[in-house]
């Protein structure tokens, strides 16, 4: 792939300038946000570039694992925060995201699809984690919402003798569906509406489109499957937070 000079990177600021110009023109006051995100993108990407360069150079599995753990940890923290209405949300999102990442990498490297090397494992983990993070957040938020808005039905089920999982089943079902819709929708339009980043990257880097496509199909399937695993784990851990041993629905203060 052709190497870009630092000067060329600076030239690309013309896009940012354009964004600033239009935000002025339409008086939408997004100028500050635009500048902040441009600076953040620059700093974060530069930092990750150095970190990856360093880790690839070390060629030590321990560092690779540490790197992935940090990514998964940040993602888990984010989801846990978004789903903070659920008790133990941070623990739940951590378990789900770490486990999903682990399983996905295990399967991919077990099938020999990607070699167990830093330069493959880390970016692929990054994709998995970024992808399942949304699933975990959505699942937490939706389940809380469903259980609270269907409180009477859940309690009616309990009083008819349902176990917590039975009483929560309709809410769980809806939480899974609503958190998976974006994932499935994206898979439907891939290649037509959107060229996935990974594939674009490979083509830009000089790989043949067909090789890039094959790899992308694997990635797409992985990105389709992994959020289901996360959402399932999140749901199965999260619904328990709403019930006690006496089969009571516990919604916390004010409910």
């Amino acid at each position: 792939m052709t190497e870009i000079s630092t000067f060329q990177v600076l030239l690309s600021l013309v896009f940012v300038a354009g964004a600033l110009y239009f935000s002025r023109l339409f008086k939408v006051k997004m100028g500050k946000d635009i500048v902040v995100s441009a600076v953040r993108a620059f700093v974060q990407l530069l930092a990750i570039g150095y970190v990856l360069d360093f880790v690839f150079g070390l060629d030590s599995p321990l560092w690779v694992v540490l790197m992935i753990a940090i990514m998964a940890g940040v993602a888990a923290y984010n989801s846990g925060k978004r789903g903070a209405k659920v008790k133990n949300s941070y623990l739940i999102s951590s378990i789900a995201i770490f486990f999903t990442t682990f399983v996905t990498i295990l399967v991919l490297s077990g099938f020999g699809i990607i070699p167990f090397e830093a330069q493959y494992i880390i970016p692929v983990s990054g994709m998995v984690i970024g992808n399942v993070m949304n699933g975990a957040s959505l699942a937490l938020m939706r389940l809380d919402d469903e259980l609270k808005s269907n409180r009477v039905r859940v309690e009616a089920a309990l009083s008819l003798g349902a176990a917590p999982i039975q009483a929560a089943a309709p809410a769980l079902k809806k939480a899974v569906v609503t958190s998976m819709v974006p994932v499935v929708d994206r898979a439907k339009v891939v290649g037509i509406v959107s060229l996935p980043g990974g594939m674009s990257g490979m083509i830009l880097a000089g790989a043949s489109p067909l090789a890039a496509v094959k790899f992308q199909i694997v990635i797409m399937y992985m990105l389709l499957g992994s959020p289901f695993l996360t959402v399932a784990i999140v749901n199965l851990l999260a619904y328990r937070q709403y019930f006690n041993r006496q089969r009571q629905l516990v919604l916390g203060p004010g409910n």
């Binding site: 009616a156 309990l158 009083s159 349902a162 006496q246």
Partner: protein
């Protein structure tokens, strides 16, 4: 014999600002087996909260509740909920058909197949609903029909005690009559009913004894006849406050 007995029951909960609020204070009363017992009081007086305790949807903060002579916390909650059925205020029906609703309790216990039509039809008959409704979606039913499905769903498990939270509050007079007649029929078969109501007429028609709550405290307990002799209490029920003038 008392089938349900409250002994100095206090219920506190936390509100949204995490402050403790007392919902029921030191409440004692008992319900005789085989009777229709009314739980009355103005809106917000704690009737629904008291009813929930009997099904152990909540636990009281202090005091004791005895069901059939046994402290409620000594019951296996599954046995308790077999014995005590709860018909919720809003027709809290599940999305789906009439059959799915009435067979729910049996189906989740694995006692009947979830599509065991003869059982479902038998239950519809018990509440006077036409067999044609069996496969109808509950959304399409009238308020009165929904409440009868709600009752059938509770009856499926053949509970000894049936709790009803304002079973007729959203019904027209004809549908109200139907539900009241059903209560009387089922009571004649030996079931105990505890019915939340704020209609004096309904209490008179149905109940032999009642307790009246106001702001979580018992302000009356006794027979229905005694209730009608206590003017300040009937005024409370009519006007929602004790002095009776607006």
């Amino acid at each position: 014999m008392a089938i349900v007995q409250f002994e100095n029951v206090t219920l506190r909960k936390k509100d949204e600002k995490n402050n403790e609020v007392t919902i029921l204070s030191d409440l004692s009363f008992s319900v005789e087996a085989g009777t229709v017992f009314a739980l009355a009081g103005p809106s917000g007086s704690g009737k629904s909260s008291a009813l929930r305790l009997i099904n152990r949807l909540d636990d009281c903060s202090s005091g004791n509740i005895y069901i059939d002579g046994k402290e409620i916390r000594a019951w296996d909650v599954r046995d308790l909920r077999n014995k005590v059925g709860f018909m919720f205020q809003e027709a809290a029906l599940f999305e789906g058909t009439v059959m799915e609703n009435v067979l729910y309790g049996l189906c989740i216990r694995g006692l009947r197949k979830c599509e065991h039509e003869p059982t479902a039809l038998e239950l519809l008959k018990q509440v006077g609903l036409s067999p044609e409704l069996l496969h109808r979606n509950v959304e399409s039913l009238s308020g009165g029909q929904k409440q009868r499905v709600n009752l059938a769903r509770t009856l499926a498990l053949n509970p000894d005690i049936i709790l009803m939270d304002e079973p007729t509050s959203s019904l027209d007079p004809a549908a109200t009559r139907t539900i009241e007649n059903l209560i009387q029929e089922l009571n004649a078969q030996g079931r105990t009913f505890i019915v939340v109501s704020h209609s004096l007429e309904q209490i008179e028609r149905l109940a032999s004894a009642c307790v009246v709550l106001d702001a979580g405290r018992k302000v009356f307990a006794g027979s229905t006849r005694e209730l009608f002799a206590a003017r300040e209490i009937t005024n409370l029920l009519i006007n929602g406050k004790e002095d009776g003038d607006d």
